[in-house]
């Protein structure tokens, strides 16, 4: 190991470019034609298939797989995209091991599910590579709808509304659309700028105006949007991050995992992105795993992920945990942070072991750290929003909020898992409900 890798502090270029590129290459490389054929042949074309029930967007999985096996990936893609316009991204980022593939009957039979995710990617990649957009807009209805947030929920909602002939304007705070597809998903899941390419492809439907740099609460208000539009959809995700709430939380080197990941997703040269030698990640969800794994891939020597409860209760799936372990991330469960030590800059994090109900055991340990990532959950931010249920926007039916003419979906809305595919489903269903209301 050379000096660069061993250097303490937060430094760029710990590994050379080639090693970094290899680490960040496609996690699930695409299937070639023959592989897809063989993988598709394993599907039993189940009756009332359990995989479909498990897919939040209800994609007709047996049908699209059969279309692949008969050499018609374009038709397969249409089957997918009719239900899930971000089927390409979902094929890459869905935790299939806890969704469709978990309940695949071949998982039951032999512990090896049909590779639904990779087959979905095969089909959607084929269509996107051809640059064709398989849907047409209906005749204009003259109705205007505002969508706040260009994440998966907002995009799915906007696309469905545009397809039905409505005029949609998306108000997006960030300079680029895509939401967490663009700024959050691990880089090895969305390679070759896929998030941006997918948005461009989606916009081919027409009838959607994207206005970047528009922040609800700063540049626009909910009341203003309601006045100027026939309906409003809120899909702004979770913009805030929970604090650690321990002393030293503000020391230099302690940052939010989502910011680190957003930087990582936007940087053009990964080797230029600084990372610590001894990294500590606090949290147990997908964000924690992604921050830990990507730190390792950038060359951090010691990466420890500390989660306060037992391994079984981690939000990250077993597959994600194993992925982290295989990349050399050390996972410690049942320990909560009590203090961040250091002189201005972080030097150590002190933890206390806890039982599963988070009762402290009195036993403490310290981990050396020059970089600490908080990954203990995101929160909804914003004022003047419809009523909340807990910490998210309360919804009933297909995303109806307590304010008339305002719908919400995705991470910002209560109910459902915080997953890309769930956001797509909620955005799509809200669009159908809005359409029914406006045209009914």
């Amino acid at each position: 190991m050379d000096a660069k890798a061993l250097a303490p502090g937060i430094k760029p270029g710990r590994l050379d470019g080639e090693l970094i590129a290899a680490g960040f290459s496609d996690l699930h490389p695409p299937l070639d034609g023959h592989e897809a054929h063989v993988a598709a042949d394993r599907c039993y074309f189940c009756h009332d298939a359990p995989c479909v029930t498990a897919c939040p967007t209800d994609i007709d999985i047996p049908l699209f797989i059969r279309q692949i096996s008969t050499g018609m990936p374009e038709a397969a893609a249409r089957t997918i995209l009719e239900q899930n316009i971000l089927g390409g991204m979902c094929a890459r980022v869905c935790p299939t091991e806890t969704l469709c593939e978990e309940v695949c009957v071949r998982e039951t039979a032999e512990g090896k599910p049909v590779e639904i995710g990779r087959l979905q990617r095969y089909a959607t990649d084929t269509v996107m590579a051809k640059g064709v957009h398989p849907f047409m807009r209906a005749a204009p209805t003259g109705k205007r709808i505002a969508v706040v947030g260009a994440g998966p929920a907002g995009l799915a909602c906007a696309h469905r509304l545009a397809m039905k002939g409505h005029e949609v304007t998306i108000y997006e705070a960030r300079p680029k659309p895509g939401g967490l597809n663009e700024y959050g998903i691990a880089a090895y899941k969305s390679t070759e700028d896929f998030a941006a390419r997918e948005v461009d492809w989606l916009m081919q439907i027409g009838g959607i105006t994207l206005r970047e740099g528009q922040v609800l609460g700063r540049d626009i208000t909910l009341d203003g949007l309601r006045e100027a539009h026939d309906a409003v959809f809120l899909g702004m995700g979770l913009g805030g991050v929970n604090a650690l709430g321990v002393s030293g939380d503000d020391r230099e080197g302690v940052t939010d995992a989502v910011d680190f990941i957003a930087d990582l997703r936007q940087v053009s040269d990964l080797a230029a992105l600084p990372v610590g030698r001894d990294v500590v990640v606090i949290g147990g969800g997908m964000t924690a795993i992604d921050a830990a794994v990507q730190s390792r891939l950038l060359g951090a020597m010691n990466v420890t992920l500390v989660y306060r409860r037992s391994r079984e209760r981690m939000a990250a799936s077993r597959y994600e945990q194993d992925l982290a372990a295989s990349k050399g991330v050390h996972i410690i469960c049942g320990a909560s942070p009590v203090a961040v030590h250091g002189n201005g800059t972080v030097r150590e994090v002190e933890f206390e072991f806890t039982d599963d109900d988070l009762a402290p055991t009195g036993e403490r340990f310290r981990l050396p750290a020059d970089q600490v990532f908080r990954a203990i959950g995101q929160t909804l931010v914003g004022e003047g929003l419809p009523e909340l249920s807990g910490r998210k926007i309360a919804v009933s039916g297909a995303g109806r909020t307590t304010v008339d003419g305002v719908w919400a979906g995705g991470d910002c809305a209560a109910g459902g898992d915080d997953l890309t595919v769930t956001a797509v489903a909620e955005g799509r269903d809200a669009a159908e409900d809005i359409h029914a209301r406006l045209m009914g």
Partner: protein
Amino acid sequence: MADLTTNFVGITSPNPFWLASAPPTDKEYNVRRAFEAGWGGVVWKTLGEEGPPVVNVNGPRYGAVWGADRQLLGLNNIELITDRPLEVNLREIAAVKRDYPDRAVIVSLMVPCTEEAWKTILPLVEETGADGVELNFGCPHGMSERGMGSAVGQVPEYITMVTRWVKQYSNLPCIVKLTPNITDIRKPAMAAFEGGADAVSLINTINSITSVDLDLFAPEPTIDGKGAHGGYCGPAVKPIALNMVAEIARDPEMPGLPISGIGGVTTWKDAAEFLALGAGNVQVCTAAMTYGFKVVQEMISGLSQYLDDKGMTLDDLVGRAVPNVSDWQNLNLNYVTKARIDQDACIKCGRCYAACEDTSHQAIDMSEDRVFTVKDDECVACNLCVNVCPVEDCITMERVEAGATDERTGTVVPAEFGDWTTHPNNPMRRTAAE
């Protein structure tokens, strides 16, 4: 290890696995290597008469049907008989037979339908020391356009005539190879039997078009934009071949006519099935063309182990299933079964349900939580669910014992045998003797 030595019409071979007359047996180089690999015998690639040899196409001559992982399920060919000079083949046959006296070497022949042509070629074959001849009345393409091959095999009178000539002008055992491209295989077999054939072998390939090129709109294999029907063989044809073998084996008009079983033999099990249906040995072509000569080693070890496990000799196996090949009208209508689903084995795919609900008798129930059960009052025991279930032995057919009530018909299952011939609904029924 069971002894696999076979005596087929007086020709002995160390095992019942012969290579069929086809490309694997088209030259000395191949046949020597086949014998080294363990094949018990070969039927040399069909020879034609003296003179300029036939020519083959120079474009693709094979087409295929595949499973998903390119597993070859069926092969189709438009190859003709040997395209090498007669004297070269005869010289090589003699050399091989001299060096492998314990193996069977049969010479396949196809010459025009004249007494002279057969009279001329037979002594040349005898001189090689070959063990017998096989008359190729089966090739369904090319040669048949010239009045040979299946053109002869489709006319029983020609078969009898040629077989008589062969028996008249040679002392060699004569095997007549039949074409399946006819409606009743017993007719040509009977013709061979009447002509004095020592055995029949079957099947040769089946007329086929494997696929159509949907850009060129031409059958495959496509030669300069056109295609001709070929002959189909390989695993896909086995069921057709098995039936034809059984039809001959159980025909009382041809008692004891030896049969060499051909068509889709790929494993020891396929071979055992042909043997059980009355074949005295088997011939193989496609399996060798797909996997090479080494496949015979699995066939040998598998068949020996099976016989050992069963405590049977090879002779015990030959024809063992023939008495159980019956006619529909003699099947026991009082044998009542119901499908049973093993809930522990079931993976809840719902295929049995879809099949029964959509296309059969609505006899499978699916609960809210995907438990699949058979409704005995609807199940006619058709077996479709068993056939579509992806889990082996998950659905089985269980017999309803005599004396119990069949819930579908509401009648008590009789203990005695009862078939269509005596069934009350049969207007032609035979009344039981008083």
